[in-house]
């Protein structure tokens, strides 16, 4: 089954490859070439480990591309009728697809880490520790899109993408700019519900400082696992159209 699923995902993988090029050329993390950017800017703003953010964003984007409509499309178009007349558990079928997407994403991100560094700097300046942030983003957005795909009839990946940008904007507004657009309890609730970008940033800071911040890792991973579990539960409970 896995080779067939991989084959059916081939066009999505092409899109992920195109995203890799996009991230390479448009993410500043990879453009700390000594010749092109001043040394001061290089060192102060963009430590080589800064590419961890590029990797995390790529991982999230890859999960959205690979999983867009993976349940909702089957429900809406009626593909499930034949799929699940064969001896197959929907949760296992979609779980396998999710696992494949995660594995592919981490594979792509790992290749991107190696070849991106070699292309940018001609050497490997950061190790695999920056993949932790990417794995967390893949889990967070993979979990979110899985839940949305079971819940919504269409547009799951777009909603997840909108949440991504909304989260960045929200934490910029409430964190860096110190604004308080909502009453404090409500603001805290919104911050709690939105994807934990802050926790992932804490993971990044902790790794730079040489220690793994397990609390932040657990919170970020728990967020993704929570939505995955919610997706699984909803998949079991919902009837098929």
């Amino acid at each position: 089954m896995i080779p067939l699923l991989l084959w059916s995902m081939r066009w999505r993988l092409l899109l992920v490859a195109a995203l890799c090029l996009f991230f390479y050329f448009f993410e500043p993390g990879f453009h700390q070439h000594g010749d092109e950017v001043g040394e001061i800017l290089n060192q102060e703003l963009l430590d080589p480990a800064g590419i961890a953010f590029s990797l995390a964003n790529l991982a999230a984007a890859s999960m959205l591309v690979l999983l867009a409509g993976f349940v909702s499309g089957d429900r809406r178009k009626g593909y499930y009728r034949i799929f699940f007349s064969h001896p197959t558990r929907p949760a296992a079928f979609y779980g396998l697809r999710w696992g494949l997407a995660f594995a592919l994403t981490m594979g792509v991100v790992s290749l991107f880490l190696v070849f991106g560094q070699l292309a940018a700097w001609g050497e490997l300046q950061v190790g695999p520790m920056v993949l932790l942030q990417a794995a967390l983003f893949a889990l967070i957005y993979g979990g979110l899109v899985a839940f949305l795909s079971v819940l919504l009839p269409r547009g799951d990946a777009l909603v997840a993408l909108a949440l991504f940008f909304l989260t960045d904007w929200w934490f910029l507004l409430t964190g860096q700019l110190g604004a308080q657009p909502l009453p404090l309890p409500l603001q805290q609730a919104v911050s709690f519900i939105l994807p934990p970008h802050v926790a992932v940033s804490d993971v990044f800071s902790g790794l730079l400082a040489g220690a793994v911040p397990w609390g932040a890792v657990a919170f970020a991973a728990g967020y993704g696992v929570f939505w995955l579990a919610a997706a699984w539960l909803l998949l079991r409970v919902r009837e098929w159209p």
């Binding site: 009728r81 007349s85 064969h86 079928f93």
Partner: protein, 313 residues
């Protein structure tokens, strides 16, 4: 094998329920399909046929009552054993090719030697020529054949066909009949459920037919019983002088039928009795052209149009 006990299915969420605006698709349906039998389901649009089939596949859950396949809840049964299912609308990812689709379904169904089985199903349904064609480029009839091919991949005990002849040409309709018969013959315990508007096909493929109307079972017609019961015959004789009087003497109450001259609707009980009376006619010097049992067709039963106050309508 398949059992529905007092099954009711209502559509509508909690809000609809609170407002009393649910739609009752099935209302107290009880049916049983014993091993080795086939059941047809017929009814007008909106009678609940599709709901009934989705309940059998476990895609829907009954609001009340019980649905069981081999004593198990449908979803649990299907996830363990699978069902040979041809949906009303054969929906297959459009970018898949015919061959890829069959290989994918065979792999999904954990069919042993799935490449060989998929290729055999391709050949059985005459799909080799379009094996590498995308699903989006298939005609309706070819797509229907692909839907039938995937249903034949695994070794299943239950077959559920929802409008299986939709889009098929007469040749493939006849072949489908053979395919279903072969599938049943391979294991005498196998059961078939067919929902169709095609009463003629149901009559050929099913032993009993459940007539659904407004979500209820109006009646279950046992086609084997009606086939065994021959209440009347159609008799044709050569138009010789005195023929009509001779027929009326041997078959009191004979009624003239439409069609060729001297064709009659006669009642003579079983076949030996009919043979005796035909022999009596011949002894009177009549030439008998033909005599055939008149059975009430499913269409006549379904539509309730049978009427015989003289000439048949």
């Amino acid at each position: 094998m398949i059992r529905l006990v007092d099954v009711t299915k209502e559509y509508g969420g909690r809000i609809a329920r609170a407002r009393g605006r649910t739609v009752r698709a099935l209302d107290g349906v009880s049916l049983e399909v014993p091993p080795g039998t086939s059941l047809g389901i017929v009814g007008p649009n909106g009678a609940g046929k599709s709901t009934l089939i989705r309940l059998l596949l476990g895609y829907l859950r009954p609001t009340s009552g019980e649905v069981a396949l081999e004593g198990e809840p449908p979803r649990a049964y299907v996830e363990r054993h699978g069902v040979a299912y041809v949906p009303e609308v054969v929906a297959i990812p459009r970018h898949w090719t015919t061959r890829f689709a069959l290989h994918a379904y065979a792999a999904l169904g954990e069919v042993e030697h799935h490449h060989e089985k998929a290729d055999a199903a391709l050949a059985r349904l005459g799909l080799e020529e379009v094996a590498n064609r995308r699903v989006s480029a298939l005609s309706k009839g070819t797509l229907q054949r692909l839907g039938i091919a995937q249903a034949l991949l695994g070794n299943r005990s239950i077959m559920v066909l929802d409008e299986p002849t939709s889009g098929l040409d007469p040749e493939w309709i006849a072949r489908l009949r053979d395919i279903v018969a072969e599938w049943r013959a391979a294991d005498p315990r196998r059961v078939v459920v067919i929902a169709s508007h095609d009463l003629d096909e149901l009559e050929r493929n099913a032993e009993r037919v459940a007539v659904l109307q407004s979500g209820k079972v109006r009646e279950v017609i046992d086609l084997r019983a009606s086939a065994a019961r021959v209440p009347a015959w159609r008799l044709e004789v050569e138009p010789t002088p005195g023929a009509e009087e001779a027929v009326r003497a041997v078959f009191p109450g004979a009624l003239p039928e439409e069609g060729p001259p001297l064709a009659f609707h006669v009642e003579a009980g079983d076949a030996p009795e009919m043979n005796r009376r035909v022999a009596a006619l011949m002894e009177r010097g009549l030439t008998v052209r033909a005599w055939t049992p008149e059975r009430e067709t499913l269409e006549e039963r379904y539509r309730g149009k049978r009427g015989r106050g003289g000439k048949k309508r």
